[in-house]
């Protein structure tokens, strides 16, 4: 801030006075010629200070209004602005004077009004010489500056009287916590006069606060001092045209600087000193001075001799404040006295339209609340609806997609409720009213007695019901369904209901049958391939009797040709032929049984018999492979419920498997023992033990998987098929390594499994 001092220093040279005199003379000479010309009155208003300073506009308006009110004469107004406060250079003042002289040389003003908004000190020196003999009205200048001795005879006006008392009161009002007020003044005459007035006023506040007067400080000292004031202190700026060191200053500029430096709020007594940094002060109203200046000008223009007018002073003040400074020091607006003028308040939308905004906000908020409430309500309703709808939809979806028939029957009233899928499942029309009897009537006649009995039993004993049965359709076909039902006790009224679901299992049945068919197909293919492996044995088995038959027949021919024919021999031959034919037929039958592709049906069979039959087929092969095939039967085993062809197929597969496993062994060690015996509860167990290399432990679990094979030429289906067959009969199949050499395959078949309903 140090750079500020040079610009504040003013050295007014004497040249300007002479220059102004010359200008004034020129104007007066020119003005003499035009004096008697009938013309409108020309009024020149010169404002000093910033043309844009607060209050100027107001002052202008008041001035013009007062002027217009005072005279009917045509008035031409000219306005000039001399901003000496911000541009205190000598050159500016000089050029301004020359400019005025030149500008108004032809049409000099009839009246000049000087409106001051700052402490200037200077104008009085040159003012009378500016337009000599032209009445000049001065307004706004302080009483102390307005020295009549300085102005010529044509200068009159109104001065302001600073009011320290009102300002001290104002300080205490705004800041009740303040205990000390520092009054800053200077060493110029004006400064001292103003300070003297402040001292007088301070007398009245002695018992309340401490009031110090800083009047001899240099600018630098002042700068330091105001930045380190204790709390609860306030500054009241009086005036400072000259500091303690004798430096000349523009008082309002000093006020501006102090306002920026101070660490406590600063108050000022003159409008010009408030500027933008003081909190404010009780100051003369510029508007009031404008008005009074206008009135006085009106008087002069209407013929009143300016000399006859008094020098007026006014001590009327208006509390005036800077809104930013109030904010800076945290002084609430509520403390401002009524009628205060607050300047620089940002004309925020809020300030201008606060009420409207508030109202709008309230409306918006309340509407928003209503809307939000409605939305929440709506959403909640939607969610509940959605959940209900979803449940319902899920139910509908599930029941229709899954074609789940639902029914509920009240046991008291006997009323039956059914859903759409159930009605269509039982081949009712959508609108038919369905009774239990109607439903029963649709059950396939073969299944009906069983189902009815089952349902009645379940209902009487309060048991769940489950059953699969057929529904006879009009076209003679039928539909398989699975029905499940249970009792539900409705707690409130003690009603008892039977509830149930019905599923259409026709497709499942079809798939099951298809699976069964495929399984049989697979088993058949496997058998064919197994028999393919047995081809040699089979051919041998078959050709043996055929060979015998042929040779016998040929021998018989010979015997018949002898004379006499050996009929006895021929009869013997024929008997043998019949026997061999039966043998061959038996082999063919055995083969055909295995090769036959027909629906296989389980029946009660003797496992020993079936194993024996299988071994007959295997014997030849075993001899060709140099395998000793041994059968150890446990006599009198219970009959098992099994398809004999399937049973044989398993034995064939297991024995062939064992024989192949032993191929690398020396012949004398190739041995397979087939044993029948008792398995776990209710089963017969068949074991096929070989003396081969055994099964690698990691393969034991994979043995029965399809396509698992250790053979070079195997398909890996034999054991898999065996498992499929065994499991389809409700048995189990597994393999174990023997304690000695080789492995044993076991399978079980349930004893006398009853046919399921």
């Amino acid at each position: 801030m140090g750079h500020l001092y040079p610009c504040l220093v003013r050295r007014v040279g004497s040249w300007r006075v002479y220059a102004l005199c010359a200008v004034v003379c020129l104007i007066i000479t020119g003005g003499a010629h035009a004096a008697d010309v009938e013309r409108s009155k020309r009024v020149l208003t010169i404002t000093t200070g910033s043309r844009l300073a607060p209050g100027f506009m107001l002052a202008d308006r008041e001035l013009l209004q007062a002027l217009a009110k005072a005279t009917t004469a045509r008035i031409v107004t000219y306005a000039e602005n001399l901003d000496l406060i911000r541009f205190p250079s000598e050159q500016y003042g000089q050029i301004f004077s020359e400019y005025l002289s030149a500008k108004y040389a032809v049409n000099p003003p009839d009246l000049v009004i000087l409106l001051f908004v700052g402490n200037l000190e200077v104008p009085g020196k040159w003012l009378p010489k500016l337009f000599p003999n032209t009445p000049i009205i001065v307004a706004g200048i302080t009483e102390e500056e307005f020295r009549p001795d300085q102005f010529g005879p044509f200068v009159r006006g109104i001065a302001q009287r600073l009011n320290p008392h009102a300002n001290l009161e104002l300080i205490l009002r705004l800041q009740p916590e303040v205990r000390r007020v520092v009054v800053i003044g200077g060493t110029a005459d004006i400064d001292r006069q103003i300070l003297a007035r402040a001292r007088d006023a301070a007398q009245h506040f002695r018992d309340k606060i401490v009031i110090d007067f800083w009047e001899h400080l240099t600018m630098e000292e002042l700068h330091r001092a105001v930045t380190a004031l204790p709390r609860n202190t306030a500054i009241l700026f009086a005036a400072m045209f000259r500091d303690g060191a004798g430096g000349a200053f523009v008082s309002s500029q000093v006020a501006h600087a102090i306002g920026q430096w101070a660490n406590v709020p600063m108050y000022a007594m003159s409008d010009a000193d408030i500027g933008s940094d003081a909190v404010g002060g009780s100051v003369a109203s510029i508007a009031a001075y404008g008005k009074r200046a206008g009135e006085l000008a009106g008087l002069v223009l209407t013929g009143t001799e300016v000399k006859s007018l008094p020098f007026e002073t006014s001590s009327d003040t208006v509390p005036t404040f800077n809104w930013p400074a109030l904010q800076r020091w945290g002084i609430p607006e509520s403390r401002l006295p009524p009628g205060s003028v607050v300047r620089n308040k940002p004309t925020s939308i809020w300030a201008q339209y606060g009420l409207y905004i508030m109202a709008a906000i309230i409306i918006i908020l309340s509407e928003g609340a209503i809307i939000a409430d409605l939305l929440i309500e709506r959403r909640r309703r939607h969610r509940v609806e959605a959940e209900l709808g979803e449940n319902q939809q899920l139910m509908e979806l599930a029941t229709s997609a899954g074609e789940i028939g639902l029914w509920a029957r009240d046991l008291k009233s006997g009323t039956l409720w059914t859903n759409g899928p159930l009605r269509s499942m039982f081949a009712f029309r959508e609108n038919d009213t369905v009774q239990l009897s109607d439903m029963i009537a649709r059950i396939h006649p073969e299944d009906r007695p069983r189902v009815v009995a089952h349902v009645q039993h379940a209902q009487e004993h309060d048991l769940p019901f489950e059953g699969e049965f057929r529904i006879a359709l009009a076209d003679g076909t039928f539909r398989w369904v699975l029905a499940k039902g249970r009792t539900a006790h409705v707690s409130q009224n003690g009603d008892v209901r039977r509830l149930g679901v019905v599923l259409d299992t026709t497709e499942r049945k079809r798939v099951e049958l298809e699976l069964q068919r495929q399984r049989e197909e697979l088993a058949h293919v496997a058998r064919v391939s197994t028999i393919g492996e047995l081809t040699t044995a089979v051919a041998h088995e078959l050709n043996q009797p055929l060979g015998a038959i042929l040779s016998n027949a040929e021998a018989a021919e010979i015997f018949l040709m002898t004379d006499p024919p050996d009929l006895e021999e021929v009869r013997q031959i024929l008997a043998d032929i019949r026997h061999d034919d039966q043998r061959a037929g038996e082999v063919i039958r055995r083969m055909r049984t295995l090769l036959r592709k027909q629906e296989l049906t389980p029946r009660l069979i003797d496992s020993n018999e079936v194993v024996q039959e299988a071994l007959k087929l295997l014997n030849i092969d075993a001899s060709a492979r140099k395998v000793t095939l041994q059968f150890e039967r446990t006599p009198d085993l219970p009959l098992v419920w099994c398809d004999p062809v399937h049973f044989q197929q398993v034995v064939l597969n297991l024995v062939l498997n064992g024989m192949e496993a032993m191929a690398p062994l020396p012949e004398e060690r190739r041995k397979i023992v087939v044993r029948t015996g008792y398995g776990d509860t209710g089963t017969v167990k068949i074991a096929v033990a070989d003396s081969g290399p055994g099964i690698p432990p990691d393969s034991l679990s994979k043995l029965f998987e399809p396509f698992f094979t250790t053979k070079k030429e195997g398909m890996g289906m034999g054991l898999s098929i065996a498992r499929t067959i065994v499991e389809a009969h409700g048995g189990q199949i597994w393999a174990e390594n023997n304690a000695g050499a080789g492995a044993t395959f076991y399978f079980t078949v349930p004893v006398r499994k009853e046919a399921s309903a």
Partner: protein
């Protein structure tokens, strides 16, 4: 003495087939011996009797091919006709390589069977006479003195009496006497005939 009747050996575990074939062959006046297994045949049969074997390829225990191998090592080799319910190629190849004269499949027609049997019997007769001639040569050779066998080896080597006498360090006359004795013992009219006869004996010639 008429030559001994050829005997057909039927080795088959299937009794009814064995019976049927036996019956047929006897009807056409063959002498037949039936055996239920190879081991039974080996135990009981007198191989010296001419004839052939009708052998089943597949039998429990010792099979047809095994029996063929066993017989191969014997001096009296009976021709074998294989008879099988189902003749697969590897087995038939093995059988033929092993010297089987025929490989027939059951059921076999009489013509085919009898043709095979006639053929086998013929082969057997030829082999038997060949074996008998050789055996006689061996006997004759056995009758030679050690010195005569020495001289024979020289003769087979194509040497003159003088050379042989020189080689053996004896007189030419002595060699002449040996040669005459050898010729006499083999019943040969000329040296050329002697050489032809002794070729079958595989005498190592001294050159």
């Amino acid at each position: 003495m008429s030559p001994p009747q050829p005997i057909i050996r039927v080795v088959d575990d299937d009794s009814s087939f064995r019976t049927a074939v036996t019956r047929l062959l006897r009807a056409v006046k063959y002498e037949v011996r039936g055996y239920a297994s190879a081991s039974e045949f080996l135990k009981s049969d007198s191989y010296a009797d001419p004839g052939c074997i009708l052998l089943d390829l597949r039998m429990p225990g010792v099979g047809g091919l095994d029996l063929q191998q066993s017989l191969e090592r014997m001096e009296e080799r009976l021709p074998i006709i294989f008879l099988t319910g189902h003749g697969d190629i590897p087995a038939s190849v093995r059988a033929m390589k092993g010297g089987a004269v025929d490989f027939l499949t059951k059921p076999v027609r009489r013509e085919a069977l009898l043709r095979a049997i006639e053929n086998a019997i013929g082969i057997d007769a030829k082999e038997r006479s060949a074996r008998a001639g050789l055996r006689e040569l061996h006997d004759r050779y056995e009758n030679l003195t050690p010195r005569e066998r020495e001289v024979l080896a020289h003769i087979v080597g194509g040497k003159l009496n003088k050379q042989i006498a020189f080689d053996l360090g004896t007189a030419e006359r002595t060699i002449k006497a040996h040669r005459a004795s050898i010729m006499n013992k083999f019943g040969a009219q000329s040296v050329a005939e002697l050489v032809r006869l002794t070729q079958k004996l595989c005498i190592e010639p001294i050159r």
